[in-house]
């Protein structure tokens, strides 16, 4: 087991009170697994990704554990996490295009970072050059400033830099959302390539785009309103989802070939609940066609089939 997350709760502090952005999530990511994490904006997916590596100032650790390769991550401890960051767990952030210090040459920045972690930059250099070439970058970028690179090149540089020390887990946060379809594909394939070559053991790919995940992920985890809804292999999630939210969501996605005139798709009525004072029980209840009295109690996230987890009373029964 690469990553084990157990009942993790992380809230956002606001004036009006705590926003329960991540309200008790339990799941695992296996060695070599590319897990896609999908959900609407505000469902807590980015909070989950961030909480595993770096808390921002408004995030508050409430409870739960995260274990990586058998060692518990001190995620609430900003300094304590430094021992794990970069070496064991790493991130390609959403803002990859602006993630590099604009006034430092990329090679120097990398050297600074490696030295700070007690790794000799000289020793890593050949591998760094090799990996840059692998993602289609001339190693000469090491002598350049970020502004000399295009957005896509910067993103690839960040991908190489983040994974240079072969971390066990890489979190890729919305890295395809701002890209054109043709580049999206290249980035997606690069991620899979990193796993195949062992640059990273496991991957957590966070995105709102299910179709990308279907292309690259082994498993897909669906989140809804701060909780987990369903987890299964990509194939299963797309072709035989069991949570009503997943089902409605997938049936609302247009694909090339489906046309309004022939087959009118429908969305899910209503909006997700606010997480400041979330309703009792299942959080999808208000929008769910199958909702019953039982849903006033929160459904557990249980394995209904082999490697297929669902949080719904209809399915658990």
């Amino acid at each position: 087991m690469s990553l084990l997350v157990d009942d993790l709760k992380v809230y956002y502090r606001t004036l009006a009170g705590d926003v329960r952005a991540l309200d008790g999530v339990t799941f695992s990511v296996a060695d070599g697994e590319i897990m896609g994490l999908a959900g609407e904006s505000g469902c807590g997916k980015s909070t989950l990704g961030n909480s595993l590596i770096r808390f921002d100032t408004r995030m508050r650790y409430v409870g739960g554990h995260a274990t990586l390769d058998g060692t518990e991550l001190p995620i609430w401890d900003t300094l304590g996490m430094n021992a794990f960051r970069f070496k064991k767990i790493s991130i390609v952030p959403q803002y990859a295009m602006s993630a590099l210090n604009p006034t430092r040459k990329i090679g120097d920045l990398t050297a600074d970072l490696l030295t700070a972690h007690g790794v000799s930059p000289k020793q890593e250099l050949p591998e760094l050059r090799r990996r840059l070439e692998l993602v289609g970058l001339d190693p000469a970028v090491l002598g350049m400033f970020p502004m000399e690179l295009s957005g896509g090149m910067k993103q690839r540089t960040v991908m190489v830099l983040s994974t240079l020390l072969d971390p066990s887990l890489l979190i890729a946060d919305e890295i395809t959302s701002a890209l054109d379809v043709s580049t999206q594909k290249a980035v997606g394939e690069t991620l899979v390539g990193f796993r195949d070559r062992g640059f990273v053991k496991s991957l957590m790919v966070i995105t709102h785009d299910l179709s990308i995940l279907y292309q690259i992920a082994d498993t897909i985890l669906i989140m809804y309103a701060g909780r987990l809804a369903e987890k299964a292999s990509g194939e299963t999630i797309i072709s035989s989802p069991r949570h009503p939210y997943t089902r409605l969501l997938i049936s609302s996605l247009p694909e090339v070939g489906i046309r309004y005139a022939e087959k009118k798709l429908t969305g899910i009525p209503g909006t997700p609940p606010g997480l400041l004072n979330p309703p009792q029980g299942c959080r999808f209840r208000d929008r769910c066609p199958l909702a019953s009295k039982k849903c006033l109690e929160a459904p557990p996230f249980v394995e209904v089939e082999d490697e297929h987890f669902v949080a719904c009373w209809e399915e658990a029964a």
């Binding site: 956002y12 502090r13 606001t14 004036l15 009006a16 009170g17 926003v19 952005a21 904006s41 505000g42 469902c43 807590g44 997916k45 980015s46 909070t47 100032t57 408004r58 959403q94 919305e174 606010g274 997480l275 400041l276 004072n277």
Partner: protein, 311 residues
């Protein structure tokens, strides 16, 4: 003059992807939320109370003074005393320091408000126009701004003031305003640029609004906090420039300002004679007003900019 309290970007009003746009959390409407942070912000409260106290002093003070600011007749070089209402003592010529002080304080607020106001006005016209029109208009305005920015305006004011036969407080304020707008124009130009690219400007155009309406009814209201902070800095700058001009002997004729008090005290060797009550109050008042304005400015920045808020 000093733009040290760097104006920050106005708060980014587009909410981030995550944490969620939280309808319940935002029920506290924008104004009330701002007020909440404003009252909790110690810098803002401190700065505002000092400024208001001084303002009150400037308004009421002259009515309390027992003597005219330029009248002679008191004991020469008297230390502060309760006798005859010479609360702040007298000058070497026997003038009432308290009367001079409150008169000067009043002039300080007039120069600051007027000089800062004129500079803010020019800065707004130039900044908005350059940012909204772009192109050649922007190039020309930018050139003018850069030239005025580079010219050491204090030296320029010095020459102008030296040639003026009669100098009034209004003329002084106007000239200060005319020379201290460039950085404000620059900052506003950048702000306008970024706001013009927002879609709501196009929406307003498609609703049949004119350019003027768009600038003043759509763009400017978005910068109100920013404009206010800018005015505060310009106010402080104008006060300091005026004090410096007055000290160099170019103050308004027929009255007395805080800078002139300092000039006269130095000229009359008040330092060597130890007449501290003559030269300490005027400088202290300037420092108190300008300093508290700057502190207030930081406080406002923290209130308006969520990134700097401490929870």
């Amino acid at each position: 003059m000093s733009t040290s309290g760097k104006l920050a970007e106005p708060p980014d009003l587009v909410s981030e992807l995550e944490p969620p746009v939280e309808p319940d959390a935002k029920h506290m409407s924008g104004f009330r939320e701002t007020l909440h942070f404003a009252l909790r912000n110690r810098k803002l409260v401190f700065g505002l109370s000092v400024t208001l106290t001084m303002l009150l002093f400037a308004i009421v003070g002259p009515f309390l003074a027992q003597h005219g600011p330029l009248d002679y007749g008191g004991v020469l070089s008297s230390a502060p005393t309760t006798k005859d209402g010479y609360w702040f003592g007298t000058t070497m010529q026997g003038q009432d320091v308290f009367a001079q002080f409150v008169t000067g304080l009043r002039l300080l607020f007039i120069v600051g408000a007027l000089g800062g106001g004129i500079a803010a006005g020019i800065g707004m016209v130039v900044g908005f126009t350059a940012g909204y029109r772009g192109g050649v208009v922007d190039d020309i305005l930018n050139m003018i701004t850069n030239v005025v920015l580079v010219i050491p305006t204090f030296a320029l004011l010095l020459v102008i003031a030296a040639y003026l036969q009669v100098r009034g407080i209004l003329t002084e304020a106007v000239f200060i305003g005319l020379t201290s707008w460039p950085w404000a124009a620059r900052a506003l130009r950048a702000q306008t640029f970024s706001l013009v690219s927002r879609d709501f400007v196009d929406m307003a155009r498609m609703s049949g609004r004119s350019s003027r309406q768009i600038i003043f009814k759509e763009i400017a209201p978005n910068m109100s906090s920013y404009l206010f902070m800018m005015f505060i800095l310009l106010f402080g700058g104008a006060v300091l420039i005026a004090a410096t001009l007055d000290f160099i002997g170019l103050g308004p004729s027929g009255t007395i300002s805080l800078g002139m008090m300092m000039q006269l005290s130095v000229q009359n060797a008040a330092l060597q004679l130890g007449l501290w009550w003559w030269f300490v109050p005027p400088g202290l008042a300037i420092m108190a007003v300008v300093g508290s304005l700057y502190v207030m400015n930081v406080g406002l920045d923290e209130v308006f900019n969520p990134k700097l808020r401490e929870l």
